[in-house]
Amino acid sequence: MKPNSTKTLVGSSAARREDPRLLSGRGRFVDDMHAPGMLHAVFVRSAHAHARLIGIDSAEAQQMPGVAAVFTAEDLRLGPIVAGLDRPAKEWAETAMPILASGKVRFVGEPIAVVVASDPYAAEDAAEQVDVSYDPLDPVLGDDQALSAGAPVVHEEAPQNTLVDVSLFATEGIDRILDEAHTVVEVDLRTGRQNALPLETRGALAQWDDRSEQMVVHTCTQTPHQVRTVAAESLGLLERQVRIVVPDMGGGFGQKCVVSREEIATAAAALRLRKPVKWIEDRREALTAAFLARQQHYTARAAFSSDGEFLALDVDVICDMGAYSVYPFTAGIEPLMASAEMPGVYRLGAYRVRGRAVTTNKAPTAPYRGVSRPQYVLLLEHIMERAAAELGMTSVDIRRRNLITEFPYKSVNNITYDPGSYLESLELCEKLVQERGWPQMQQKAAEEGRRIGIGYSCFSERTGYGTGAFAQRKMKAVPGFDLAEARMDFTGAVTITSATINHGQSHETTMSQIAADVLGVELSAVRLEQGDTERVPYGWGTFASRSIVVGGSAVRNAASRLKEKMLALGAHLLEAEADQVEMHHGGVRVLGEPERSVSHTEIATVAYLQAQRLPEGMPPGLSESDSFDVFNDGTFSNATHAALVEVHEGTGQPEILSFLCVEDCGVAINPQVVEGQARGGIAQGIAGALFEEIEYDAAGHPLAGSFMDYRTPTAQEIPDIEIHHLETPCLFNETGAKGAGEGGTIGAPAAVVNAINDACRGTGAEFSHVPITSRDIHAALFAATTTSKLQEA
């Protein structure tokens, strides 16, 4: 930006500050780090889904070349990871996740022992020689089985295999509405277990530093301060004796926003050996033993009036959370999110929900981009389609009839929605669908005997979760606020800090854009400091699309405080009144007299080197902190997605021909970055709709141990995506930004599924599960034609 230009950096697609190093191979990811004398850790993992541990014999492994140690739970005696909800016993069963399994194993891949050796090859060889004996137990592998009488018990503390069981809402008279409604749609819907699948697997490098008396852990985490808390507790150290540093990170998507037992075990090994120890997860471990997500089962009834009004929704949702509750979110993460937010973008008269988290013998569940919203949006959008079909309405009309249009809107789930463009985004999307000729393509295809479908999906995403909203979930550790610092040095360069973690979201650019505008400096003059608990004040990290709306607002507030101080000091130096000066590009000047000005560096000189010139009472230095939190119901980004999908009859293969997204995340700090988030999110949504599923055999062994078996889409399967922006600013922060991290993932599955069902319309084939594979489509179409032929005969 040119000096004195009135154009702001916020709102422009400024080039990314992080690109030069990442493009030239100079990024520094955890496995890029080396320490003198570094050892390598490999975990011995459970071969059984559910078994009592009889014994661990590591004598042979200990003798192998290069092996420094083999540690079991008994050797390390670490405190377990325990996450809590402040809910009564009938709603919540508290369980512990040990760092290394002891007594019993609860999923294939659970860490049992850690082998430390001079190089990773030697450590792997030795891990294979650790002999673990098991007494196998029957595994629990699905929600039906988990809840059935006489099922094996995963945790003694939860005899019914139920960790969370809440009934959050039950509108009075809902049964009568359902009984008397013109149309009631019943849906049974299941969503597959997925892996968030960051391309960089998890990993950590831990070393004890005698000088700072600290365990320094470089680790891939979205929540460094929370890892510090748990690590200190588990290792029996003071919190100040643990320093968590997050280097460049190759994606996370939620999988890295809960505390990993392996990162704590690696630190424990380093503490014992007083040597640097590195652990890098391999892809097989990442697919089988890292945190998973998304396996949910909905049974729902939805009531509509004859003219399509959405009268009531009665839902039971069961989330298969796997073997353990995660820190800090607990096993409540999915059922609580689904129950609290489900009515989504629709005006709804009556709502009742029961949400449960069941525990099974599978790898545990962490938040994954969108958390439950891709699933309940799929449910709602499926309900809309079914109701439209029964009432003879179009897909757009039934949504138009029910979308929230007046704001603030207090919903039946007790949440007040801030202004959004729910109807506008639908109508723009519909207009684009018409302009792009989708209906004609569909009709032409039908005439040629091909099947093309159009699918819509409308949703909103609560992004500004502050302490207020999280406290309602009743977590014992309540996330919400963020703290930030802004300081200017002697050369006029600015450092800002944020406890959020950039791992692809471009925070180094967007947060710097925010600060540069406030302080009147070049974008390149600002540097964001993140991911070091020693250098960044406490905060909650990156998840739930909170970074810009909460973290960015904290940065903005800290920068504003710094600006206030610089204005006061500038006014003093200019011998003007404090309200008679303004910040301009490069300094402070007197209003209406631009030639009376003082530069940033002159102000900084006084602040640091000539403190005698400071006004009376002003402390030296240019460094300010501030915080941001939200105590109302937060803010909602929204969007409408539309997909055009062809279903190839012979093979059952679905092919996405086009994809449209009309999104509104408030003020887009950097539109190009927002589009990147939307495209990447939509790609992951498509992955969940059509491709990816973590499956287990009857004994509880995961079926996919490599990318050969876990089908993640490539550039051939993800179409080009057309994006349009609307802007309804957030009203309670200075930037007006809402949050853009998860929306793509939330809306895409429903649009794709609706398009497939539209393509299959009239055949009797209809899908209410994801992923929908070509095999599913082929089988359903085949069954449908066979039935109709039989009926004809």
Binding site: M1, S13, D19, L22, L23, H34, G251, G680, Q684, A715
Partner: protein, 180 residues
């Protein structure tokens, strides 16, 4: 530890490097952990994700599937041989201009894949670019902007106009000014 360590000479980015390593050590491990060329990444170690893609005799290859010993006598190029942070090459510039990277983990592999591809096919169609890029995985971008970047690089190298690409629509006009 092992007695049968071997001495290798690897030609990487125009320089000869002597390495003593186990015969079973992969090329990517030697590059990253012996030569400290950590730009090349590891995403799977079984030849699917392409994060480890380097050029071996000018052709894209999976460095996780090659033993270092097999690379002796070959010409190896890694991402570190492209432009520097201060002076990116045209392909790197297009990746940045199109937002073809987010976390940047797949990026070095994508760049080397694209360099090898463009050397072989200087004037590809968008479909050909897409097919090439589908050899590697990216979890962040949804691929479209990577395809845009490679397509624009090919046009730039042909000194053709690439103003018609989707990028033009995506970015407001004041971008250039901000960079200035």
């Amino acid at each position: 530890m092992s007695e049968n360590k071997q001495l290798l000479t690897l030609q990487v980015n125009g320089e000869d490097h002597e390495v003593i390593c186990d015969p079973r050590m992969t090329l990517v491990d030697v590059l990253r952990h012996e030569l400290f060329l950590t730009g090349t990444h590891v995403g799977c170690e079984h030849g699917v994700c392409g994060a480890c893609t380097v050029l071996v005799d000018d052709k894209p290859a999976r460095a996780c599937l090659i033993f270092a010993a097999q690379a002796e006598g070959r010409v190896i190029r890694t991402v570190e041989s492209l432009g520097t942070p201060e002076e990116l090459n045209d392909l790197q510039e297009e990746f940045s201009r199109h937002h073809g990277l987010q976390c940047g983990f797949c990026t070095p592999g994508m760049l080397m894949l694209a360099e090898g591809f463009l050397a072989e096919e200087p004037n590809p169609s968008r479909e050909q670019v897409r097919e090439c890029i589908s050899a590697n995985l990216c979890r962040c971008t949804g691929y479209q902007t990577i395809v845009d970047a490679v397509e624009c690089t090919s046009k730039r190298r042909q000194s053709a106009d690439c103003s018609g690409c989707s990028f033009a629509a995506a970015v407001p006009q004041n971008k250039e000014e901000n960079q200035a």
